[in-house]
Symmetry: C2
Subunit: 475 residues, 2 copies
């Protein structure tokens, strides 16, 4: 387990380096290096001797922690053993080729050029899910389980259908308002403000880095070696949101019980919980009226004075749009609901790949009320399906829902956070998250963790309460 | 072989990152990650199945390249199989602890505190060398072989004794001159000059990085991903020398025959040849009167005008001193000769660890004519013995000798480089080195490579011809 954890950290380091530091000439060698790591990790994770170890451990007297380690190890080992080596190898090839095909297709707005690769990925994903299917779970639920163990397709259908009914009227309400405003803040001002804001919430030089990456992400190379990335543009203040979003990911990994380090439990439990941690800092801290005072103060300190209310209005402006990654906090989940519906239909064989553009068109009209002018700005905008990632999208919307639910639970225990946030005081938030969410690592899966932290299962009401004022506000 | 090459590259990446990018909090996790890599690489390199593969390959019809791959693989596999796993593990522990002990001892000028760790390292090194000894090679030669296969202890004794007799009178000659002058050039000027100089010799953004590190080194992560480091100080212009020194290491790895990539032959053949490549660029390019015009031009372009002759005088000033890493090009090998004599005597049991400080004292007096005021500035100055590296030091002096010999061979083939260097034209030098040295990778060991490139075995005359003018020059 320790060795696998170490190999995982090296993989993250090599990936971080590739995206942040590596000269472009290193790409070919890096692909080989990452391939060698993946191959070794796969070999070690699926060794036949593991079955014997597990059988021996399952009849041994173990403490609670060791029992959890063995339980999760058994689950993962059995899943990996059910995948034929041929299928695993063919999937990796198909995903690498699919990404290339997607890149070309998007650049040329050529869905037909991408369709064969997508068809292949869908077929392989279905086959993969079928290998894992037990007791009628079905292939989509098994794909979901790769990112979020224990989530059920039926539950997502229900949640997303309720959300897909509740949000469009709110988005419609906003249409009456003026369009989103952007603030033009010089990059060096943003840079200083981001550094100082992060320093306030605990990002020090001993245990963190902050770098620039075209698509911001976070790497946790060690418990005290967290690497955030963000991006800066003169035309907007996305860096303020994105850096706190990434901070949420980083903080989660740092606050896991140190006893879990180098075990199979020593990392975030699922994609949706991870995304809930980033969304909590993005939506509930960075986008709060109270914290806007802190952010505006930092911008002012860096030479760009503005009213906190204006900054807050910019950070929370709502406007239905075409592109997921730049969507506002209210309409963002609608982009995900569309993707969930479509990928589920493709995996279940109810939507042919060739019909995807038309289905996308209809869905954007129905959910967001926008016209899709091209596939490049439509179903070709995301890399995920080209890379063979089916069942990943839901975590983005679940993260928004879970963040809202955790935030309400936290405020009902600690009281409103407004006064603290106005002063930039986030210590109690970090402590509450550590105790109720982070500490467990992978000992609790998504739904048990939510129950444990909030006293009930996942529901959409807290999120609807969070977005209501965004829709109601007149600009 | 490809997998081992990939693991080696990941090790280099993780080490580079640790020294250049990693926040200090990552140290503990990084030690585990590097440990896991080393463990895996060792396991893969010593697998019993390799013996069967080699036996089958040795009776197969193979081309020249494949025969070389098998020959070197056989040699390394047999060496690694002769080391008991216990001994290997105990050495790693002793080396890690020895480094820590050395660090404390140096900080407190406390040789007695370091002696037990050094004693342990010497004992383990001797034992290690004895496991490998065959046909009377002896333990020291086997330690040497870890860095420089094929070098013989007797040959080094002979070379170093001749060099140790020839250099002190030259150093004595310099004593009459005024002391070394340092140039105080602002760090930002050096920074610009270094970047521009490196760009002239071919360092582009697509395939190289240049960063700052307290102890400059080079990492070759991929054939087109070379990472140089240097350091800057207001008080001297060491960065000009150090950056070209590191460039020499980097260029070597980039110009190896691409057919050798991801084989066991696809890297520099030995420590001494590697060091010859860095020393060639440091001593024969950066320290030449002709290239001083280029360097002075770059400093001037960055806002610091000075006469090329003054810069050259600074870069080549000679003054016997206490510390190896800041020694001048003439006296540098004397520091190495002392270390060679002492480590050989310790491994052969002719010098007790406890007598090391006195022997150091005597040697510095005899070879460099300087008085050693403390062990911290004496036998505690280098990390190598604390880290268990015996047989490594000679490569530093051999590099100087080989560089001079290669330079003469190159000039006798291409004609004097002076005119080209004055214009910063290094293309023919790079091409000559590629053809005669770099291309071979590990297909030729140190001595055969020198013979092949220069027509004779290693000798000290070219180096003596190189340093004579440095000693004769009046400041």
């Amino acid at each position: 387990m320790a060795e696998l954890a170490d190999l995982g950290a090296l993989d993250m380091l090599a990936t971080w380096d590739q995206l942040v530091m590596m000269p472009s000439g290193g790409a070919e060698a890096r692909a080989n290096q990452l391939g060698a790591l993946a191959q070794l990790a796969h070999e070690r994770a699926t060794g036949e001797e593991i079955g014997e170890w597990l059988a021996a451990l399952e009849v041994a007297q173990l403490g609670d922690l060791d029992r959890d380690i063995v339980r999760v190890a058994r689950r993962e080992w059995e899943r990996s053993c059910r995948i034929p080596a041929d299928l695993a190898a063919e999937r990796s090839r198909a995903h690498a080729e699919g990404q290339e095909s997607w890149r070309r297709a998007r650049a040329n707005d050529d869905f037909a050029g991408f369709a064969p690769a997508l068809e292949r990925n869908v077929g392989l994903a279905r086959q993969y899910g079928e290998c894992l299917t037990q007791c009628g779970t079905g292939p989509y639920q098994e794909l979901l389980a790769e990112y979020d163990f224990g989530l059920e397709t039926a539950m997502l259908r229900e949640l997303f259908s309720a959300l897909g009914a509740a949000l469009p009227p709110l988005a419609e309400q906003v249409r009456a308002h003026s369009p989103r405003r952007q603030l033009a803040v010089p990059v060096d001002v943003q840079h200083t403000a981001v550094r100082n804001t992060l320093r306030r919430v605990g990002v020090d030089q001993q245990g963190w880095r902050l770098d620039v990456a075209p698509h911001p992400f976070t790497a946790w190379i060690g418990r005290s070696d967290t690497r955030l990335t963000t991006r800066y543009s003169d035309g907007n203040v996305e860096s303020l949101l994105s850096s706190l979003h990434e901070y949420g990911h980083g903080l989660y990994e740092r606050q896991i019980d140190p006893a879990l380090v180098r075990t199979n439990l020593g990392r975030g439990t699922s994609m949706s919980i991870h995304e809930s941690q980033s969304k909590l800092w993005e939506n509930h801290v960075a986008r709060s009226p109270a914290f806007a005072e802190v952010l505006a103060g930092e911008l002012e300190g860096a030479g760009f004075p503005l009213a906190p209310a204006d900054l807050h209005a910019t950070l929370t402006a709502v406007e239905p749009s075409l592109i997921r990654v730049s969507a506002d906090p209210l309409t963002y989940p609608l982009h995900i609901i569309l993707r969930f519906e479509l990928e589920l239909a493709m995996i279940e064989g109810e939507l042919a790949v060739i019909d995807l553009p038309a289905a996308w068109h209809d869905g954007m009209q129905r959910l967001l009320g926008v016209e899709v002018p091209s596939d490049a700005q439509g179903c070709l905008q995301d890399i995920h399906w080209g890379a063979g990632s089916f069942g990943y999208f839901p975590s983005y919307a679940l993260g928004c829902l879970i963040a809202a639910q955790l935030w309400e639970a936290m405020e009902s225990e600690l009281g409103p956070r407004e006064e603290d946030l106005r002063r930039g005081e986030v210590g109690p938030i970090k402590a509450w998250l550590a105790e109720h969410v982070h500490w467990y690592g992978r000992r609790l899966d998504t739904i048990p963790l939510i129950r444990q932290a909030t006293g009930r299962s996942l529901d959409i009401e807290p999120f609807l309460r969070y977005v209501a004022p965004l829709a109601a506000r007149t600009p």
